[in-house]
């Protein structure tokens, strides 16, 4: 690509808005793509052909895709761009893969200020750098005002395996359940920014690429001791636990007292009438561990910036009832029911 042309295009974009003609495939489309490439910088290695050609070692690949429709797309300590990288990187990492490549699809609402697009692209660039992934292909579409909320993203990720892929069904009775960090922060932060609830300056999103953290966990113990890992995203910890209980045909026990929930998050959840167990997160994983590996994995997690508050929250029971039971703060044990649909905030 001609570097001078990119620079000219970058300058000409300053202070502008995205218009429908940026998506028509003509000159303005080309300028938009050139601008995107210029902002992404060295994390973009696409060759502007119809497909990316990648060299990978022989063996298994991990591949995943996710679309990101975030409301609001911009929040206190991040934006949809950061989430779009973290979400896909984390999906690859929890299966045991090393994330390598991402594609980037963007659906942009006409009228979006270029400054907002730039903020998203810069987040993508910085988060991709942090995660050690490269963007190898992309696509942009522009839709009419009202047909999208500012910007929607899709990322597809490819990872390679340097260890045996993890499977849910390798989890066994007696395995310990560990959370890598507090739950609920992302949901409370976004709801607070969206509705002006007053918690946004006290509670930040946990959005983070966790591949480095997960690698630390794997490398702290022998192969197989980390039985399975799942990122605790939409549906929250409760959804993850129900998913495992059903897949394993076994019961899971968790201890409410052990759950890492920040006081402000509990405060907000109580106000909204939602349970932190059902809240979405973007920087928290649930690990199922051989009991003999727990201490070493926890030490590894605690030494990483994203795992300082990792904690054991429960275990896999030796039974065949696919239920999740929680011991509450008073010592009572109750079955954690699976939600039928979204647990909507109680707003006025």
């Amino acid at each position: 690509m001609d570097g001078n042309r990119v620079l000219t295009g970058t300058r000409s974009f300053a202070g502008r808005q995205i218009v429908l003609d940026h998506g028509t495939g003509a000159r303005l489309s080309r300028e938009l793509v050139e601008y995107v490439v210029a902002v992404l910088g060295d994390v973009y290695i696409g060759q502007m052909e119809d497909s990316a050609v990648l060299s990978v070692a022989a063996g298994q690949l991990a591949m995943t895709t996710d679309s990101f429709v975030v409301d609001p797309p911009f929040f206190g300590n991040g934006d949809v761009g950061k989430i779009a990288v973290c979400g896909t990187v984390n999906d690859l990492a929890v299966i045991g893969a090393t994330p390598k490549y991402l594609t980037l699809g963007m659906i942009i609402e006409a009228g979006l200020p270029v400054a907002a697009l730039t903020r998203v692209l810069e987040s993508i660039r910085e988060t991709a750098r942090q995660a050690g992934v490269l963007i190898v292909a992309g696509d942009t579409k522009v839709v009419r005002p009202g047909e999208a909320d500012q910007i929607y993203l899709n990322t597809t990720g490819i990872g390679v395996f340097e260890r045996t892929p993890l499977r849910m069904t390798d989890v066994r009775a007696g395995d310990q359940i560990v959370l890598s960090g507090p739950i609920g922060n992302h949901t409370v932060h976004l709801l607070s920014v969206r509705e002006g609830l007053g918690f946004e300056s006290r509670v930040s999103s946990d959005c983070a690429p966790l591949n480095g953290l997960i690698t630390e966990a794997f490398e702290s113990v022998e192969d197989g001791a980390v039985r399975s890992v799942r990122d605790v995203t939409r549906g929250g910890l409760a959804a993850v636990l129900h998913e495992y209980a059903k897949a394993l045909g076994a019961g899971l026990r968790i201890d409410e007292q052990a759950l890492p929930v920040d006081p402000e998050v509990k405060m907000a959840c109580d106000m909204l009438g939602i349970d932190p167990l059902n809240t979405a997160n973007e920087g928290c994983v649930c690990l199922f561990l051989d009991p003999g590996a727990v201490e070493r994995v926890l030490a590894a997690l605690h030494s990483h910036p994203y795992g300082r508050r990792a904690v054991v929250v429960g275990e896999v029971a030796d039974d065949t009832e696919s239920a999740v039971r929680m011991r509450d703060r008073d010592g009572h044990i109750r079955i954690l029911e699976e939600l039928q649909g979204a647990e909507l905030p109680r707003l006025c």
Binding site: D149, G196, G198, R346
Partner: protein, 194 residues
């Protein structure tokens, strides 16, 4: 002790007139609520009305049967006169908490206020969020239970329990006035983080 200010939430025509339940709840609260505001003014304290102004391009703002209430320049956005005095201060807000993207904190600081008495409608969310936001910013927060309004009383009671448990001293308005008179201010309750 620093100064005291009362913050009211959403005491506006459109918002009060949304339904019969709200109208009735406001009517029931008005005698003690307006008396409390008058007593606060008489003692030289400030009353600030947090006035919700819905922005036409806000997709989150609640519509009433397709109509956006409380828009700037309409009669529906105005504060009910029974709660208003010419000495009062109006602060426009666009979301639930009165502090969210407003200059409320700066105004309170410039007035030397360290204690806020949070009131208004509805108890759940607007009173709760403004009180929580004030608490996080270091204010001593009080809530007069008879000056908090919800369409459904169970929501009001639940909100008051929440406020009392997390961030505010909840008391009847008469008790707050008595405490002000006797102690010259309102003592700060200590909240212990679990």
């Amino acid at each position: 002790m620093g100064k005291v200010a009362v913050l009211t939430n959403d005491l506006q025509y459109d918002l009060v007139n949304k339904n019969e339940e709200r109208i009735r709840a406001i009517e029931e609260a008005t005698p003690s609520f307006s008396r409390f505001l008058n007593e606060i003014r008489r003692r030289g304290h400030h009353v600030l009305h947090l006035q919700l102004v819905n922005l036409p391009d806000d997709p989150i703002a609640e519509r009433y049967e397709g109509r956006l209430p409380a828009q700037r320049g309409t009669q529906g956005v105005e504060i009910l006169p029974v709660f208003l005095d010419e000495s009062d201060i109006l602060v426009e807000k666009n979301k639930d908490s009165g502090f969210f993207e407003t200059d409320l904190h700066e105004r309170l600081q410039s007035l030397g206020v360290d204690t806020v008495i949070v009131t208004g409608m509805q108890g759940q969310i607007c009173v709760q969020t403004t009180a929580a936001d004030a608490f996080f910013r270091g204010y001593n927060v009080w809530v007069p239970s008879d000056c908090v309004v919800s369409a459904r009383d169970k929501d009001r009671i639940r909100a008051l329990d929440w406020l009392d448990g997390y961030c505010a001293t909840v008391a009847e308005s008469d008790e707050i006035l008595r405490t002000l008179d006797v102690e010259g201010g309102l003592p700060r309750k200590v909240f212990v983080t679990p």
